[in-house]
Symmetry: C2
DNA sequence: TAGCAATAATTAGTGTGACAAATATATAAG
DNA sequence: CTTATATATTTGTCACACTAATTATTGCTA
């Protein structure tokens, strides 16, 4: 095992993830979906889990809070999302899809599924399981309070 | 196989890749390395392959040309890289490490190896092979002229 | 209840990524 | 030689990631 390999693996992971995202974005653009891939991820999570704070939503989406704030700004401007002030805690917002937002999700959902499938051709069940396991292991290896 | 899974896999891939990069960047910052992870990748490639055009370097690094231009601007400003005009083609530059750049690479190289290893703990040879194969398959699935 | 630490969200600043358009130079076709 | 086309690089614009700092609010504590 050459230590140098780990550098290569890291870069391969980086490039592949970017490619997957970019491919999806290109398809989104071709179909004039009107949202970016990251914005879609937020809409999708909001559709599954309603009435949630930005902090919780950020965690669900795997994004940090400043990033989520800006994505929500854009989604609100587009009319897909509404912020309402939390009754008991005026520091936080409750975020939810608007009527338009819900329509957008149902409209795009099947198309997005098709797009997403493309990346996973020529792979089988075992590959999916291995990949999940490996990526989860990597993720845990880098957990914050894991300093040795 | 639920079609919905592919969406999850895509997001897991995205999150994991970002985590790997972010972990490395935090370590770089703690050590005051004076470069970002992406800038390091460029320095490393330049160290391996000297006297190369920006276009070729971009390909090696897996970045597009505008992005590479901007990273090089920063590295030139920091004094690690020099651009010299190509003798036979004045459109292009030959890019190379400066003395300082070479020193930087030898200084950081062992530390970066250590940092990179962290992500790959608790995985074995088979996992590395599987991961490489799977990621390469995904990459190929999304190759540009592949409009099924 | 006054003061203070913790928390939710935002803002600011820098770097990166993708794409399109602009610039400068090279090469090919006539 | 001139025009057309191709290529290398740069610039501009928008979106996202991460950090640090700021604002508003909450809840604890003395």
């Amino acid at each position: 095992m050459h230590k140098e390999s780990f550098n290569r693996y890291s870069l391969l992971l980086d490039c592949t993830a970017r490619r997957v995202k970019q491919y999806a974005q290109v398809q989104f653009n071709l179909g004039n979906y009107g949202v970016t891939v990251d914005q879609w991820a937020v809409l999708k999570n909001l559709n599954n889990t309603a009435n949630i704070s930005q902090k919780e939503l950020a965690k669900l989406c795997g994004k940090d809070q400043p990033t989520l704030t800006r994505i929500l700004d854009l989604l609100v401007k587009k009319g897909f999302v509404e912020r309402t002030i939390h009754k008991n805690d005026r520091r936080s917002f409750i975020v939810q899809l608007s009527e338009e937002g819900r329509n957008k999700v149902s409209e795009l959902e099947p198309n997005v599924r098709e797009i997403r499938m493309k990346a996973w051709e020529n792979l089988d069940e075992n590959d999916f399981e291995d990949l999940q396991r490996i990526l989860n292991t990597i993720y845990k290896n880098l957990e914050l309070n894991n300093n040795d």
